[in-house]
């Protein structure tokens, strides 16, 4: 496929790896922000190809992983209602709440449906006028315009048996929280390419300047990621801290103005609790007042929710880049994708799940590198 296959070319990848090896003179810690990038790095063994001085730590950019347990329990309580059709992206179905997941709710008779696009929910609402359709609106800036459009269209079309349970998160406040932490190890970021396709990169420039940290907006294919690493390492070695774009075929400085406009109409910025990290100020979206009639949280009072997280799990530290999956005593033992204990094991894009799915608990990374 055009724009995919050529960015997976091993020969080109090796050339970039060689150039990185020629450039690096000392140890550096880079964080890829987005879970899709983490998944690509581990699946393709890119970290094993890189010189030993370069350590990649894995960021908080997996919305499925960071959706708070409180919100997941709330979703489950709504999904159990007999008058509700609960729609969600497929990734959310396996995420454990305090008591089971959406698959279990479905097996117990709950009407839980997977949707490809949020607009699919509107068709479901029209076809089921005696039910209320709730969409679990999660995601980063990339997904917000799509979710916003579903709400906007519902109002345009006069669909009233539809609402959204919003748990949107934003990347720059999370990066700021990581950089501001006294434990921070991250010296440069691979920025999230598809988030920036929507938001552009002006929001990242204050972080670059305040923390003197290079940010290189990167894509998701092996060549894209290696190019992002090379540009980051060049900046670090030359003592520069700049915003650079390694994903020019998809990302413009101003982002996508039409999408931003829709986000601003439907959502407003709010504080948000991140699973494993805690509340980060102004790090999410909720519905704007104009669209409050579509707020599932207000429509369905599910009472107070008390959550319990396993004490052994170190997902919060992994999401902040201070520890890695193999540092966790539960990894691959009590905790696996089938029975996840915490945020980073629950989605294929979580760092722990990526390590597990590609056998990192079975082989030494050094032996992978020597192959």
């Amino acid at each position: 496929m055009k724009y995919l296959d050529e960015y997976r070319d091993q020969r080109v990848a090796q050339k970039i790896v060689d150039e990185i090896a020629r450039t690096v003179t000392r140890p550096w810690v880079l964080m890829e922000v987005c879970g899709g990038q983490t998944h690509s790095i581990v699946r393709n063994g890119l970290d094993a190809l890189l010189p030993k001085q370069i350590e990649l730590v894995h960021g908080p950019g997996c919305p499925v992983c960071v959706t708070s347990l409180e919100m997941i329990d709330r979703a489950h309580a709504i999904a159990r209602r007999p008058d509700v059709i609960f729609c969600s992206f497929g990734d959310m179905l396996r995420v454990p709440g305090s008591d089971g997941d959406l698959f279990r709710i479905r097996s117990e008779g709950g009407n839980v449906r997977v949707v490809y696009s949020p607009l699919d929910c509107l068709k479901t609402a029209r076809n089921n006028p005696d039910k209320h359709v709730v969409f679990f609106a999660i995601g980063f800036e990339t997904t917000a315009p799509a979710n916003a459009m579903a709400v906007w269209q519902a109002r345009e079309l006069g669909i009233h048996n539809f609402s959204v349970l919003v748990s949107h998160v934003l990347v720059p406040p999370a990066m700021r929280a990581i950089l501001a932490s006294p434990e921070n190890r991250v010296q440069a970021f691979l920025g999230p390419g598809h988030v920036c396709a929507i938001s552009g990169w002006t929001e990242y420039e204050p972080l670059v300047n305040q923390y003197r940290v290079p940010v290189v907006i990167s894509g998701f294919e092996p060549i894209d990621i290696l190019q992002g690493v090379l540009m980051s390492v060049r900046q670090l070695e030359q003592g520069r801290a700049e915003l650079e774009n390694a994903y020019q075929r998809a990302v413009q400085r101003e982002g996508n103005p039409a999408a931003q406009q829709m986000i601003q109409r439907v959502f407003q910025v709010s504080d948000r609790a991140w699973r494993g990290i805690g509340v980060i100020p102004e790090s999410g979206f909720t519905l704007s007042d104009e669209f409050r009639d579509y707020n599932a949280e207000a429509i369905f009072d599910v009472g107070e929710i008390h959550t319990i997280e396993p004490a052994i799990c170190i997902a919060g530290e992994i999401l902040k880049g201070t520890r890695k999956p193999l540092d966790c005593p539960a990894f691959g033992n009590e905790c696996s994708p089938e029975r996840p204990l915490g945020a980073t094991m629950v989605s294929a894009e979580g760092a722990c799940a990526a390590y597990y799915n590609y056998g990192r608990h079975l082989v030494n990374i050094d032996s992978v590198a020597q192959r």
């Binding site: 724009y3 499925v64 696009s117 607009l119 799509a146 598809h194 396709a197 039409a258």
Partner: protein, 91 residues
């Protein structure tokens, strides 16, 4: 979750006032909303995320960057013996 796949627009249509397209992903064709990429035309490549085109791929930029990366080893040979800045920055 932020996965977005590049595909080629094969036709345009309207669905209840929303501009839509049929997008070909290497033989698999799906519908995508074009509201956020209104300038896209048939034959253009767009990145599609959860049924929405989020960005039109800049083909010239893609070609230029890829060419640079594919020729990186030749540039490295040219730079051997030159300890200064690389001849070309990665775009």
């Amino acid at each position: 979750m932020c996965l977005a796949i590049p595909g080629r627009i094969s036709s345009l249509h309207d669905n209840l006032g929303v501009p839509m397209a049929r997008v070909d992903f290497g033989g698999i064709v799906r519908e995508a909303c074009l509201s956020y990429v209104p300038e896209a035309r048939i034959g253009d490549y767009v990145l599609v995320h959860v049924g929405f085109a989020i960005s039109r791929i800049d083909e010239e930029e893609a070609q230029r960057t890829y060419q640079y990366l594919a020729e990186m080893d030749q540039l490295a040979e040219l730079e051997d013996g030159n300890e200064g800045e690389p001849a070309h920055e990665v775009p």
